[in-house]
Point group: C2
Chain length 334, copies 2
């Protein structure tokens, strides 16, 4: 019988987790007080701290077992918890400095699964390039479902935060990272196509759903270049572009040819499932790409692709000046 | 039919919550970017930020309906989420500057209950005196159980953080706030004594369980006075004193007469339930009182009562130099 969480005390479980959170990552000088006290203390050289929080809940944000036969690992959940939160700092133009993680676990959870979660947190921080980020604390409690909340802090390193509200008519709309891949992966996981027999190209899409790859160098680079507005695409390109357009009082007009080209890498999976890949491009979240607006003078901006332009007026989002509904996409509902 | 969470979008729900979070509390100057973007930005005058995180889960940390007939309100849950987190900053000698709140809610949750939760968060911040604290953001998602996670930041205002590890032999052990009251309230809620017929004294104990009163002025005052070690009592006086003793490599010896006097206000409820009130004093958490050690030279320390002394040696906790087991208490299990 594998060891379960119910058989360990909270402190025993934390003792198994914390050593895993520093593998290959130097302990940051900015950590004045690390895990183990009532709270952690971080040095903040910049005089400002960026803060966000995000939760994943079993059966809402992930399934432990999918119709395709895939079993979500602790590693996946840890990776995604880190990636989502690191992305929020990225979207402000900052770099993450700390994660505090609160775990809710059924007593029947395998301890190994929780250790894998710690490994996933650590691997995401390291492999996504968030080298300045340390896991500074957290807590563990019981519940009927697995839930992972992470709170993240970040530094702007002297830069201005990039808000959603600064886009100017005439700006270029640019994209870093991918769109639609995590949504394609989700559709594959939810399908009855057996996971273990998927081809490599499709497995990569599943990987993008389970362990997303937010482009963490791009946020600070865009801020440095004077990006006027930015957010991370967590709920879909059109919905998130609407948020940026609404906050800035402008219209975001996407280039239909560029959007079509974004759908190409998804076509094989879309054909397998009988879906229009544009649905994933326009509506798929969770790749945690960055959507930003910049003055044309700073183009080309390394790491970003031009995908449209900012127009005057508060008409939300258009594609080639047409409403997304007119180009076949009307999943506007919140 | 009351409006439920499932009938609103996340943004609609947030629009109902945020206005409630600023009632009677001035928006803090330190909030550079407030709710509504990918992350918030706080100004940090002190050059350091204190960070902690804490989760409450339905049926683990609270019941929606208790055997006594009491129904936990959203206000209670919001208050407690704030109080627990503000207490962690207090225990470092800091003052809270922000809360970010992540809510997990079943779709069937009444919107009114969630609005009450926002009111409870706001009321706790205001009534506990955390005037410098703003709710700077959060997110809302679905789940099978209600869960509330708050991440808190704080400022040390130029002081050294007070850790658990600095207690010195010869120090006085001091206590701020109450012990055992929340545990007594929990026992009353779990009993079959009808809530609505409880006498006022007992209702006050229930109130301490549902809406605890951490002594938020005491932490900064102790830090200012040079307190050598401090933590908040969230898991019980003996267990938390053991943590402090273990981190500091000392023995904490409580004065049995002082502990007995702490049990007196609990005697009436204990008699009602046929319990020894010392169980609540020694083992009851959740009042979020502060246990601290100070050099005798700084005594008396306003807001704190002397409850024992620090002895050399790493023997954990004693009561009148006896093991707690020898004075009738052996609930040591983690």
């Amino acid at each position: 019988m594998p060891l379960t969480v119910a058989q360990l005390s909270e402190s025993d479980l934390l003792e198994r987790i914390f050593p895993r959170l520093r593998t290959g990552i130097p302990w940051q000088e900015c950590v004045v007080v690390g895990p183990g006290d009532d709270a952690a203390v971080l040095a903040v050289a910049d005089g400002r701290v960026v803060v966000s929080i995000d939760t994943q809940v079993q059966d809402m944000d992930f399934r432990l077992q999918w119709p395709s036969g895939y079993h979500t690992t602790g590693f996946d959940v840890g990776w995604k918890a880190a990636a989502q939160n690191l992305s929020d700092i990225n979207a402000m133009g900052g770099r993450a400095t700390s994660l505090a993680v609160s775990l809710t676990l059924p007593g029947s959870t395998d301890v190994q699964w929780v250790e894998d979660l710690a490994d996933g947190l650590n691997a995401a921080i390291r492999q996504l390039g968030a080298d300045g980020c340390s896991v500074i604390g957290g807590d563990i409690g019981a519940g009927a479902q697995i839930a992972v909340t992470a709170a993240v802090t970040g530094s702007l390193e002297g830069r201005k935060p990039v808000l959603r509200s600064g886009a100017q008519p005439g700006d270029v709309v640019v994209l870093a990272g991918t769109v639609g891949r995590a949504a394609a992966g989700l559709a594959l996981l939810e399908s009855t196509h057996e996971y273990s027999s998927l081809q490599a190209e499709h497995l990569n899409l599943v990987q993008n759903q389970c362990c997303p790859l937010p482009p963490l160098a791009a946020g600070p680079a865009a801020a440095e270049a004077g990006s006027t507005a930015m957010l991370d695409i967590s709920d879909g390109l059109v919905k998130d572009a609407q948020r940026l357009a609404s906050a800035s009082g402008v219209r975001i007009d996407f280039d239909p040819e560029v959007l079509s080209s974004l759908a190409e890498p998804l076509r094989s999976a879309a054909d397998l499932l009988g879906i229009d890949p544009m649905e994933w491009v326009l509506g798929g979240g969770e790749d945690h790409g960055l959507l930003a607006t910049v003055n044309p003078i700073v183009m080309p901006l390394p790491g970003f692709t031009a995908v449209g332009s900012v127009k005057a007026g508060s008409k939300g989002v258009t594609i080639g000046s047409q409403s997304p509904a007119n180009v076949g996409w009307d999943h506007f509902a919140d």
